[in-house]
């Protein structure tokens, strides 16, 4: 769920990145080096229809996945990284598909499957990826490969303190392993794969290790979770994606396209203080949260206003700390929004100017959230002119300064990424552009500022997208290009004719095939 692309999730990411600079120690690890915990959901079929495999049949449904992957290089965006091998787990669901984690199969150049007891590698490909919930569907290239393998049925949310068994192929061996643990906690967590999305997660004390990712968590013969991540902060702890999230993913994927989670894109604050509730005009015993800010581009734009008190969502009362009661547990009310698909309507009851009213409005995804999430299965967008390399501002670009970019990146970039969207409703509709680096050449060698600088204007035009920068440069007929930077008074000048002549020479010298990936 991204209730808002920033706010709690981003602040948590900021604090986490500050605290865990040396290694990915704390949850959420931004990008697990090797897939850590597995979780196992089951697909859409009702539990009554799918036969429950026998106890020693679960292994047959659990598959080892090897991923040879390659990512884009955000520091040299015209290039790609080296090939990386990783492994994880998946399991058979209906439709001849495997369910696993998105992080097990992201950026794949070659996926190989190993069935239980079968040494033969089988080629496969990821057919559906949900990076915002760390789930993926994989299909073997061989038709009917999975026909005789039992499908694992989906269960429900496991009770606290109940036992679960996790199956997978953790590091340290090639055979399937199973571990038993209890459900110790169920609450919202940041999903490390994107680094910014928050959904419910099941915490268990079952030993879950790299390689387990994507494996099923089984209880009473049904899948109750997909093991997916761990944490270095707690011993013997692993996390699973619950069936609710799995079903959301599978339902979304039915039409052959994954759309993702909707965003309200608001900030709200608690109304725990009696004076705050009284000032808001609430009655005794009434509870809710105050809308403090509405980002343009989200579901709430045009429907919710600053100062509104959210009393109920989909008929469920919201407590003054922002929580709702679901299945005996308290979760952030955003979970109610999460249960919807994009395009569905959300019903909220609000208090506005002393009047209680019901609103119904459609849910949309916010286009600006990608700036905060790790990027997968895409190559970096960029533009190179006169040896100056420009990229859109996003977390991948910021991480070229290091994992502790909050501390090490240019301060104006940090301010733009984290704090501007807290005060400017339109900030997330813009695409800030960064001068990332310089490919040295006589035409640019004397430029004073060239590393990690936010470009605000180019040739007199305000820059709010990479496309805008390209247009401002390519349409300029004046003798000079003037790029103004975020730091007041700071600017760069390029000789237009000399730069036009130098650009192809620079690309050739540095082995850059294309000057752009817009």
């Amino acid at each position: 769920m991204i209730r808002t692309p920033i706010g709690g999730a981003l602040l948590l990411a900021v604090l986490t990145s500050l605290a865990a600079a040396p290694a990915a120690a704390a949850p959420p690890a931004r990008r697990p080096a090797a897939p850590k915990p597995p979780a196992a959901p089951a697909p859409k079929a009702s539990t009554a229809e799918v036969p429950i495999p026998s106890e020693d049949g679960f292994e047959h449904s659990v598959v080892r996945i090897i991923n040879y992957s390659q990512r884009g290089d955000w520091f040299s965006p015209w290039d790609v990284t080296g090939v990386r091998a990783s492994s994880g787990t998946g399991f058979v669901i209906e439709g001849g598909l495997l369910l696993t984690n998105a992080h097990v199969v992201s950026d794949a150049r070659l996926l190989l499957l190993y069935l239980h007891g079968d040494p033969t590698p089988h080629k496969a490909r990821a057919v559906m990826l949900g990076h915002d919930c760390d789930l993926a569907l994989v299909r073997p290239e061989e038709k009917d490969l999975l026909t005789d393998i039992p499908v694992l049925p989906l269960g429900g949310l496991p009770p606290l303190r109940s036992a679960v068994e996790t199956y997978g192929y953790p590091a340290g061996g090639d055979q399937i392993s199973s571990t038993r643990g209890v459900v110790s906690r169920i609450e919202t967590q940041v999903y490390a794969h994107s680094g910014v999305d928050r959904h419910v997660a099941i915490q268990t004390d079952a030993a879950i290790n790299p390689g387990n990712s994507g494996g099923p968590m089984i209880q009473n013969g049904r899948v109750v979770g997909v093991a997916f991540q761990g944490t270095d902060m707690l011993e013997n702890t692993g996390f699973g994606i619950p069936v609710e999230v799995i079903r959301h993913f599978l339902d979304d994927a039915k039409d052959g396209k994954y759309d993702g989670y909707p965003d309200l894109a608001i900030f709200e604050s608690n109304l725990e203080n009696p004076a705050a509730r009284r000032r808001a005009g609430m009655r005794d015993g009434e509870s809710g949260v105050r809308v403090d800010f509405v980002n343009d581009g989200g579901s709430a734009e045009g429907h919710l206003e600053v100062g509104d008190v959210l009393l109920e969502v989909d008929g469920t009362p919201i407590a003054s700390d922002g929580s709702v009661l679901m299945e005996g547990l308290r979760f952030d009310y955003g979970l109610m929004v999460d249960r919807h698909q994009i395009g569905e309507n959300l019903k909220v009851r609000i208090l506005r100017d002393g009047e209680r009213r019901d609103l119904v409005f459609p849910l949309v995804a916010h286009p600006g959230t990608s700036r905060y999430a790790s990027q997968y299965d895409v190559l970096p967008r960029y533009y190179i002119y006169a040896g100056l390399v420009f990229e859109p501002l996003n977390v991948e670009m910021l991480e070229t300064s290091g994992r502790d970019w909050v501390v090490s990146a240019d301060k104006r970039l940090v301010q733009e990424q984290i704090f501007r969207p807290l005060s400017d409703p339109k900030a997330l509709l813009r695409e800030p552009v960064v001068l990332l680096r310089r490919l040295d050449d006589p035409v640019n060698i004397n430029i004073a500022w060239y590393r990690g600088q936010l470009v605000t204007r180019a040739n007199g035009k305000e820059i709010d997208s990479l496309a805008g920068l390209i247009e401002a440069i390519e349409s300029n007929q004046a003798p000079f290009h003037v790029l103004e930077l975020a730091e007041p008074g700071r600017f760069i000048v390029l000789d237009r004719k000399g730069s036009d002549e130098a650009s192809p020479r620079i690309l050739e010298r540095y082995g850059v095939l294309k000057d752009r990936n817009p």
Partner: protein, 509 residues
């Protein structure tokens, strides 16, 4: 060195400190010792700063041992940092058995110098002001002197280089003498000598490299201290600038010839350049010194120095310098009246020595003015641990003071009580408005809280993604605050600060 010419016993003795001439070895230690014994005293300073988390409370008492140098007056010269937050200053002479109290006569924290007076009768009778050099040396050996176990410790250091650096409060730049020393643990205002003359005080030391505040600045300070009142102070240009090495940038500004001068990107309200220099000006020369494209000028004695020191080189506030400026395709000569630098006029002062932090407890909310001391209270790792939002303000906005926006008031923490339920998790967030009034000081916050909005106090927070405003019950505010003060043993509800200095008219750019 004069000693080599053998022009006199005293000269020989002085020179013998450094030249190692045979035949004078027996005279050297005695002469040097006498010079140092009569010109240097030890200081023992009791100091106590403030607890940054609980600004109503003092921090732990500390004790420092430092040096002071006898100067004409007679007075004792030391660094301002040594006497910062002092509760008691005591001085003793080498061989003396008693400490006597001293008090600060004049302190200029911007240049980091202080002079002390001693009222004890006859204290100075066996002391002698040190001979002061005209300028700092540019090469060769120097001597650092200090007390150690009631013995003089004289360490030889070698001049490494002269470098323009920012002073400890960040408002001025001037040359410092960097020396490689065998003195360990220096930086406590040890006097430094060359050829028997005083050439500066050591203000910091990093491993074996000591940083010396040179006699050039000290002489200026002493002259101003003795001169007509009020003390004028040193002046910084107060300009933001960048190097101008790019011929394309220079050509775009229509300056003919090779790149020269520096590009002005802005000026600070209260600085000397405010209202004089504008963004996109090229500052070609200042006070007759041509400035190159890298920002350096040629000092007649010290070679290439960064131009930012021109205003502190034998100048003081009140002087007027001529600036040659290239603006919008034309050269012009402008007058730059030098204004005294007061870093406590900054929006976020780096440090305000000897000032108790202003604060206010409002319904259990701890409000205070933001400064660098608070941000650095997160320890050595403050760059990683201090709240990022405050850090960004500190790095980016420290000198962005404007009329009506003189300080940033933050809600640093909450003293939890039933009265402020719902806000216990708030910390380190700026407060921009209280009850509809802009707040840029503790005094303004206090005034705003006298005017509730009906039954409520409403504190608007800088956007933070967590909470936009704090609502408190105004009817029970006073009683609740009193109860919280008692519960948390806070002796006083608040403390105002002296108003920031008047910075004159806005820069108008």
């Amino acid at each position: 060195m004069r000693g080599r010419r053998g022009i006199g016993a005293s000269a020989l003795a002085a020179a013998a400190l450094f030249c190692g001439l045979p035949g004078t070895a027996a005279a050297r230690p005695a002469a040097a010792r006498q010079a140092f014994e009569s010109g240097i005293v030890g200081l023992t300073i009791s100091a106590q700063g403030w607890d940054q988390d609980r600004p109503w409370a003092k921090g732990a008492p500390q004790s420092r041992v430092a040096l002071a140098t006898v100067v004409e007056g007679p007075y004792l010269l030391t660094s301002a940092q040594m006497v910062s937050d002092a509760t008691l200053i005591e001085v003793e002479k080498l061989g003396g058995s008693m400490r006597v109290p001293a008090k600060v006569v004049l302190v200029d924290p911007e240049i980091d110098l202080a002079i002390l007076g001693v009222e004890a009768p006859g204290f100075f009778s066996d002391l002698k002001p040190v001979p002061i050099a005209d300028a700092m040396p540019t090469e060769g050996a120097v001597q650092s002197v200090r007390w150690r176990q009631r013995q003089l410790e004289v360490s030889t250091s070698r001049v490494s280089r002269i470098e323009v650096q920012v002073t400890s409060l960040g408002g001025l730049e001037h040359p410092f003498l960097l020396v490689t020393t065998d003195l360990k643990g220096g930086g406590w205002a040890e006097p430094v000598f060359a050829d028997g003359k005083f050439i500066g005080l050591t203000v910091s030391q990093d491993e074996q490299v000591a940083r010396i505040l040179p006699v050039d600045m000290i002489s200026g300070f002493l002259a101003m201290a003795r001169g007509p009142k009020p003390y004028p102070g040193f002046s910084g240009l107060g300009v933001r600038w960048q190097i101008n090495e790019d011929p394309v940038l220079t050509a775009s500004l229509r300056l003919p010839g090779v790149p020269r001068g520096v590009l002005v990107t802005g000026s600070n309200w209260g600085g000397s350049a405010c209202g004089v220099l504008k963004p996109r000006d090229l500052l070609l020369s200042l006070d007759g010194h041509d400035i190159d494209a890298s920002g350096f000028y040629r000092h007649p004695r010290y070679g290439l120095l960064r131009f930012t020191t021109i205003t502190t080189d034998r100048h003081r506030a009140g002087d007027v310098l001529k600036a040659e400026v290239w603006r919008e395709g034309k050269k012009m000569m402008l007058d730059v009246p030098l204004k005294a630098t007061h870093t406590n006029g900054d929006l976020i002062p780096d440090r305000v020595p000897d000032r108790a932090p202003p604060y206010l407890i409002a319904g259990g909310l701890v409000l205070r003015e933001l400064d660098g001391s608070y941000i650095r209270s997160w320890g050595d790792e403050w760059r990683r641990k201090a709240p990022i939002r405050l850090q960004l303000r500190y790095w980016l906005d420290s000198k962005d003071q404007e009329p009506g926006a003189r300080r940033i008031v933050i809600l640093s923490s909450v003293l939890p009580a039933a009265y402020n339920l719902g806000y216990h998790g708030l910390s380190d967030v700026a407060v921009t408005e209280i009850n509809g009034r802009k707040v840029d000081s503790i005094a303004a916050a206090e005034e705003a809280l006298k005017h509730p909005e009906g039954e409520f106090h409403r504190l608007v927070l800088e956007p933070n993604g967590q909470m936009a405003q704090v609502i408190l019950d105004a009817r029970t505010f006073d009683d609740a605050t009193a109860e919280i003060l008692e519960s948390y043993r806070v002796p006083v509800v608040g403390r105002e600060a002296p108003a920031p200095p008047d910075l004159g008219p806005a820069c108008g750019q």
